[in-house]
Point group: C2
Amino acid sequence: MSQGANVAGATLLETISSRMVSLRQSERKVAKLVLEDPVEAMRYNMAGLAEAAGVSEPTVMRFCSAIGFSGFRAFKLELAHTIALGMPMALTAIDEDDSLRVMTEKVFSRTISSLDRAYRHLNGEVLEQAIEMVASASELVFVGAGASAIVAQDAQQKFPLFGIPCQAPADYHQQFISASMSGPSTVFVAISNTAKTRTVLRVAALAKSKGAKVLAIVGDRGPITEVADLSIEVNTFEDTDLYTPTVSRLAGLVVIDVLATGVSFRRGPVAAERIREMKEELAQMRSVEPGDPGGEPG
Amino acid sequence: MSQGANVAGATLLETISSRMVSLRQSERKVAKLVLEDPVEAMRYNMAGLAEAAGVSEPTVMRFCSAIGFSGFRAFKLELAHTIALGMPMALTAIDEDDSLRVMTEKVFSRTISSLDRAYRHLNGEVLEQAIEMVASASELVFVGAGASAIVAQDAQQKFPLFGIPCQAPADYHQQFISASMSGPSTVFVAISNTAKTRTVLRVAALAKSKGAKVLAIVGDRGPITEVADLSIEVNTFEDTDLYTPTVSRLAGLVVIDVLATGVSFRRGPVAAERIREMKEELAQMRSVEPGDPGGEPG
DNA sequence: CGACGAATGTAGCCAAACTACAGACCTGGG
DNA sequence: CCCAGGTCTGTAGTTTGGCTACATTCGTCG
């Protein structure tokens, strides 16, 4: 998505922060200004930015080079990119005084930024191995608690498509049973943003002890990643704030999408054909029609 | 998010397409080039773009004016914005020959673009009314099928936070019962991307006949919106393709986030305090600790 | 067939990004 | 304490590139 001079998986502003120390005194003034209000910085041209920071134009130029860009133009382009991904509102706390419009923008911005961040930080090799692992499973179990339970549920809807038996037990009790019944050909997917949800940790450990392969989908390293054979780290913005909705589950869902798509590639054209048929039938089933399965139940 | 010369809720490329007819012959050459490969167009400067399109520089300039921009600079900025939101890959079909990296980028891009689109097309007034409706409910019922069921489940996790009794019956049978038990103070939220899922339509109609207010969350107008008192339209990209994951559910989740946040504003600081307490306790409960609720079940 | 108006390109202007250079500052050694 | 080295920062000039006034061509209509 980004083609700038960034280090892998870092946003422009993060790059600036990290290189702050290696900047000269006056260059830092520029850096500070940009970090404080990227949107405002965006409006300036070189001369304007120089004046606002209280330095000369070549200093701004040097700043751009120091960050890793060929010039001011390139820098501004990348800044625009970063801003477009929702930066302005994404890191501002959601406030009770916000108008509905502003609040909506913040929620969406934050979500979009988080997805972008998650994408940047995804480890391609781990993903590759995860797809391999899931594709070779003869049974799949998804487990999560709270918001992560939603992700598990979603996964459970997707993977049967590829002919892999698949469950997402809802409560701890059932999860426990599934875990204890799993074996070497089971892939047990433990989903937890904190990577330390106790119940999830327990069942993952149990499944592992029964010989199952454990795949963790987490927001960060933690006890669960210790137990897991493989961990997909999904980096999102922390929900530090009171009103901030949980954004991790969304990133989790998208990762599930990627996994599912990857697995479906592995299954080849035959599976693809079956999926197509199924989709068509589903569409027909769903729509309103004279014929009447699912009338009044009872 | 966008501050360009766009018509409300339209992406730059959509704007160009729509104004194509009113453009002069040579300006259209420029427009075509930009639409065909926005990313490539982005790399050019004015002279380059002019040459690539086989026209003169002032023509490019006139093109920018015709689209509604003050000049080439402003145009390029908005183009950068559009591209940043995932355009390049967002509308390309996902292909079995794609490398894992490319496929991942496509899935994320598409999701991000879709969320951006959903945001742009959201009707603020409808949202306002929806929040009002939900906030004044004494009981909430969320209903959806398939992918939308996930959204319903998610909603069901959120709204109890505000002290509103809330359910998301999983199967048609239970949904039917909930619908028939609802009354004037019930808000019945029907979620369906197609707006014509039959079972959802049925229960929504039933709830309405019992006096409940029906709020629809849909991807488009359809039978369900006919029944509903209020409909939030969540515009995403159609999943035309075989491998394209369902992106509508994600947009649905974010809309739920917005609704929930809006409602929590209404409830004021007292509720806020209670939510904070709850979050803290939840965090403690979740983490691994010596004390041991939730040991082996049975 | 000529004249008017629209459409497009040519040439020049001006602003803004970039670069070479020189003065100022700090640092360390005598 | 002062001088030499290097580093940092600003001044001034160059060049690129966006923008505009004007000329030319093409099409159309009287």
